[in-house]
């Protein structure tokens, strides 16, 4: 079985790609982005795929009930946000208010991060990053919320995309057992390679 930190890095790659796609879309605007139909499905398709891939994570990395609930909720909200954006891309739903699903996904994901981290911030790097990721996602929910009210806002679109890049960086920094700012609890285990 791959280590938990590797799974974090794989998902970090996915989030980095989501961030790059979002940034490119924010730079060129909706019209140019939609000139090739396949491009409209990239972001929502990848989000949905990452939601599907969270299910094996939930199944094989269940250390506790709270971990299972957190991983399961991420899977559900990623699939929900990706699915609704796929429906928007195909034109099946039109209302801008569906963007609120992304805000909901970020709030639920952030909440799950904060709730399922049982240790304090400086217990280990993983604990620190779980707290930091949780609060980043909760605060970052303001961007899709803003997009629901102002769909053409470049600031909201860029902020939303940058959020994914930040999440990717934090996930890439994650290690199963490593110090954070010189702190590592003796209960955290022995650092490996």
């Amino acid at each position: 079985m791959p280590r938990a930190e590797m799974v974090h890095w794989w998902f970090a790659g996915g989030f980095l790609m989501l961030g790059l796609l979002g940034l490119a879309q924010a730079v060129v605007g909706e019209e140019v982005w939609g000139m090739r139909p396949w491009r409209r499905y990239l972001w929502p398709g990848l989000t949905f795929l990452m939601g599907v891939l969270m299910w094996p994570v939930m199944t094989f990395y269940t250390n506790s009930t709270i971990h299972m609930l957190a991983h399961g909720s991420w899977a559900q909200v990623l699939m929900l946000a990706g699915g609704l954006e796929l429906a928007r891309a195909s034109g099946r739903v039109q209302s801008q208010w569906w963007r609120l699903s992304s805000a909901l996904a970020l709030l639920v994901s952030g909440g799950a991060f904060i709730v399922h981290e049982q240790q304090h911030w400086l217990f280990s790097r993983a604990a620190f990053l779980h707290h930091a990721l949780g609060w980043t996602l909760v605060v970052g929910a303001v961007f899709p919320l803003l997009q629901a009210f102002r769909p053409r806002s470049v600031v909201a679109a860029s902020g939303f995309a940058t959020l994914f890049v930040v999440v990717a960086v934090m996930l890439f920094c994650d290690r199963d057992t490593a110090a954070i700012f010189g702190h590592l609890s003796t209960y955290a285990g022995t650092p490996h390679r």
């Binding site: 790659g13 980095l16 790059l20 890439f172």
Partner: protein, 88 residues
């Protein structure tokens, strides 16, 4: 064509060209970030010292390479066609 219209077209073309350059720069910037990371923390690349490492470390433990890979895929698959569309 009046000078005002010509100036407006020129300004719009310059703006599109700037956007295309930004989009085209995102991929190489990501690749560069991955390479710099690999140089700063070579121990994060398992294939540089593979002795005694298992399958998952050799395949799944190459985090800086994922950054480079994401940059390459984005650049070739998304950024280049997007810049072409933008220039049209």
């Amino acid at each position: 064509m009046s000078a005002e219209i010509a100036q407006r077209i020129e300004r719009r073309t310059a703006e599109r060209s700037l956007r295309a350059r930004i989009v085209l720069a995102l991929g190489p910037a990501t690749i560069l970030a991955g390479l710099v990371w690999a140089l700063l923390q070579p121990y994060r690349l398992t294939f540089l010292h593979p002795h005694g490492q298992g399958f998952w470390w050799l395949v799944g433990g190459e985090a800086p390479l994922y950054v480079v890979l994401a940059g390459v895929v984005f650049w070739r698959v998304v950024a280049v066609p997007l810049a072409e569309d933008l220039e049209q």
